[in-house]
Amino acid sequence: QPKWGLVIHGGAGVISRENLSAEREGQVRAALEQALRAGHAVLASGGPSLDAVTAAIRVLEDSPYFNAGKGAVFNHDGINELDAAIMDGSTRAAGAVAGLRHVKNPIELARRVMEKSPHVMMIGEGAEAFARAQGVELVDPKYFYTEERWQGLQRALEKEREQTSPPSSLRPGHDPVTGDHKFG
């Protein structure tokens, strides 16, 4: 077994071979490799696992291919709401954030909550106020927009109109374009 290393995921669900084009698969694999290399660079230089986790997740958050950061799905109101958490195994220190709408890299704010506050979890406007106080990068919500995710919401809304029960908010979304049955 290796003395050290990094494992990542970019989401699970109904990912169909038929609906995942070779081009798309190549882009996803390239992004995953980029994230792995970012984390590996930290670990190879003797850096802490917390830095490696943060570096890898930032790459995935900045990619439009995953449901986090830049590629986040839309809620019912057409808004991107982001959540994140981080935990240090050696100390059991933890930080978590939820319901963010302007924080470019939520994992960075989760880490600030862990390291710069006495708390474990912050949500919504309060969390974003803490982000401003900490100098964490905020962006216009338009930054998170991707046409693919927007169309995914439109299809979900249309499906919701066609059905009466149970409410679609209780079911995972399904994107027929990518075949990517994404969960939160």
């Binding site: 290393g5 990094l6 802490p48 917390l50 995935l60 950061g69 809620n75 709401e81 969960f183 939160g184």
Partner: protein, 134 residues
């Protein structure tokens, strides 16, 4: 949802998860990703990041359950993660997967959905990426 777990040269584990949640969610719904012990957890022996149908991962405190089996039952990481994802979660009706590492560098990446975007890199610096159950 995206996530990472890492073991550094000093032997310390960490876990992190980030997500946009669920398409068309309402009422301030929050899934398992930011819930410590559900979608994200790390202790000195074990680190886990999860992705899946969040309500189930919260109810079954999936990430902590895996690490508790390692801590209290002496199970291997692979055994603990497999039981929780392929037995406990499946019986409950929950779909998704986890990535996990232990303090010896063992890796587990079980999932009960048709695919999970995932990857691993060790001290050899060679990235390994997979999507389907290959």
């Amino acid at each position: 949802t995206v996530g990472a777990v890492a073991l550094d040269q000093a032997g310390n584990l960490a876990a992190g998860t980030s997500t946009g949640g669920m398409t068309n969610k309402r009422y301030g719904r929050v899934g398992d990703s930011p819930i410590i012990g559900a979608g994200t957890y790390a202790d000195p022996r074990c680190a886990v990041s999860a992705t899946g149908h969040g309500e189930y991962f919260i109810r079954y405190t999936v990430a902590r359950d895996i690490c508790a089996r390692v801590e209290y039952q002496g199970k291997s990481l692979t055994e603990a993660a497999d039981v929780v994802i392929h037995d406990v979660l499946v019986k409950a009706g929950g779909e998704g997967g986890v990535i996990a590492m232990d303090a010896d560098g063992h890796v587990a990446m079980p999932f009960n959905s048709t695919g999970m975007y995932r990857g691993y890199i060790g001290d050899d610096g060679a990235p390994r990426v997979a999507i389907f159950p290959e």
